[in-house]
Amino acid sequence: MTLIKANVVVQLKSAVHDPQGETIRHALEQLELGQVESVRQGKFFELTVEASSKEEAEKIVREIALRVLSNPVLEVFQVEIES
């Protein structure tokens, strides 16, 4: 068993209105920091899990992301295992 690092990004589904992202985009527009088409806000999680392989780690992290870190009604997630 080794300690393996995983990153999880959780974001609202593209169809779901994101008031925070929209507010940030509006602010950027007012600050005249370049032309920003859209901003989507999300959450980033850094997990360190104990697993025998990268595959096993990914399986564990996917389960966690699906069941806890995201709400499937409105969010999607991506998992990245660090080498």
Binding site: P19, V73, L74
Partner: protein, 233 residues
């Protein structure tokens, strides 16, 4: 005589208000039940109160739904007993999959504590059975994440099957954007499950059960709940 359970999670903060309304004001035996308990045996109805269970960290209700008590809540729901989620409790029921949809941040991105007008859409629910046709309620909200979201298909099902129980309206009882405090889809403030015994609402009847607090309209919802429960026990 029915017995009511109010479930307490770390970070809950409206449990005593619900208990006070049911027990001290309306005289119904009501117990606070700790979230680590595993049974609601002996209770005829359960309420998940408002607050910030687990600090609302991650998402409101997201951690609470894994508490041991939630298994007992699921069981009560399956048995057809009333399970009511108020505010944070509503969010827990959504996270647990007992009620549809999810809550987004309020459109204003701020917490909103305010009295508003609420239109009961169905009068055959545990909280509305004692109301009369066309009656508007003045009830406060207090939340940062009450912007009800569901995909179009779900929304349509909810509307078609009379599962929207409360809607935000203006003083005349009509839907209007400015009367929708948080941007909720279809101005939805409360919904029920298919069977009708699990009901969640964002407004707080537990903050307006006596005139001196603003209005006593919340009392009517609790009286409905008591009557509804008594009829079924």
């Amino acid at each position: 005589m029915p017995r009511f359970a109010v479930c307490v999670f770390p970070g809950s903060n409206c449990e005593e208000d619900v208990q006070y309304a049911l027990q001290n004001v309306l005289g119904e035996p009501t117990d606070l039940v700790w979230h680590k308990d595993t049974s609601l045996e002996g209770y005829d109805a359960a309420i998940l109160p408002g607050g910030f269970a687990h600090g609302d960290y991650l998402r409101p209700g997201a951690v609470a739904r894994f508490s041991p008590i939630m298994t007992a809540i699921q069981k009560m729901a399956d048995e057809g007993k009333p399970v009511i989620g108020i505010c944070n409790g509503f969010q827990m029921l959504q996270e647990a999959g007992l009620l549809p949809g999810a809550m987004l941040r309020n459109q204003t991105l701020t917490y909103i504590c305010r009295y508003l007008h609420l239109r009961p859409e169905q009068l055959d629910s545990p909280l509305t059975s004692g109301l009369s046709e066309g009656e508007l309620l003045r009830i406060p909200i207090g939340h940062a994440d009450g912007n009800f979201y569901a995909d179009d298909e779900t929304l349509e099902t909810l509307e078609r099957n009379d599962r929207v129980v409360f809607r935000y309206v203006n003083a005349q009882g009509a839907r209007e954007d400015t009367a929708n405090p948080n941007g909720a889809a279809n101005a939805i403030a409360g919904v029920r499950n298919e069977r009708g015994n699990v009901l969640g609402l964002m407004p707080h009847p537990d903050r307006c059960y006596q005139e001196e607090l603003g209005t006593a309209d919340g009392r009517k919802l609790f009286e409905s709940l008591i009557a509804w429960t008594k009829e079924r026990t």
